[in-house]
Symmetry: C2
Subunit: 135 residues, 2 copies
Amino acid sequence: MKKTRFSSPKYFKLSKKQNANEILEDYVEAIEEISKDKKDVKNIDLSKYFGVSKATINKNIKRLIKAKLVTSEKYKSIHLTSNGKTLALDSNVRHEIVFKFLRKIGVPKKIAEEDSEGMEHHISSYTLKIMKSLI
Amino acid sequence: MKKTRFSSPKYFKLSKKQNANEILEDYVEAIEEISKDKKDVKNIDLSKYFGVSKATINKNIKRLIKAKLVTSEKYKSIHLTSNGKTLALDSNVRHEIVFKFLRKIGVPKKIAEEDSEGMEHHISSYTLKIMKSLI
DNA sequence: CATAAAAGTTAGCCTAGGCTAATATATTTA
DNA sequence: TAAATATATTAGCCTAGGCTAACTTTTATG
């Protein structure tokens, strides 16, 4: 009597690949959000936002530049490229769907904020569509 | 007119900490599952299960040993400690709740397997309780 | 406007989690 | 049982994502 298998190798591989982009998505989403309040998005804003050191932000911004998601010159502010903007908006839409869905099923705001943050990168578009339809 | 903030620094910090244990949980869960079919769980089984090299498994098993989740001697099979067993069962329960919840809202089996795999580490016990009650 | 404070950068370190290649041990099977 | 195959381990490499400390540049202020 074999138990249902909830996972298998291939799914792990997929989730690892996704993982690689998680931080990039979080960053562009953060940059987009911060730029609603401030005209210039600086290193220090992201440092405060994510609670990590300026050095870490600096390193990660270089990855974003390499990935053509942002542009930035030394000591200057950070700007999303059109790719970056698209990814940020996409990310935000997914984030919002998950957040609202969690609220809909009765999860308190604070917890829904935390959970949606963690979950947004691990939900397929199929599942997102269902969640959207249930909001 | 400020937009709702879906995320904030502290949630990121929390999710990073969780991340560190993800692989440990995945491993104990896998070991528990494999041991249902085979008496001995070996390196090679996990290598096939996760689709990563034997060397990687070997390294990670050492982390599990350090974390007192498994015991294993050179060239011998891997056994969950009672801590490991507890974590595995816990993990599996969470996994199962998410999987069944996704099925309940209409997500196809294959996709529910993938998504629940990714999501299980990012859902609070509060949200899990709600999901459980809705299955 | 000079200097102090704030922000940005760089270098060097760490852990986690991958890999390959070489080697060691176990297991199968001719 | 000896040789071939399978599995396990080790060493050394890589990237991502953290950190601190030292230094540079920018910004604010006396």
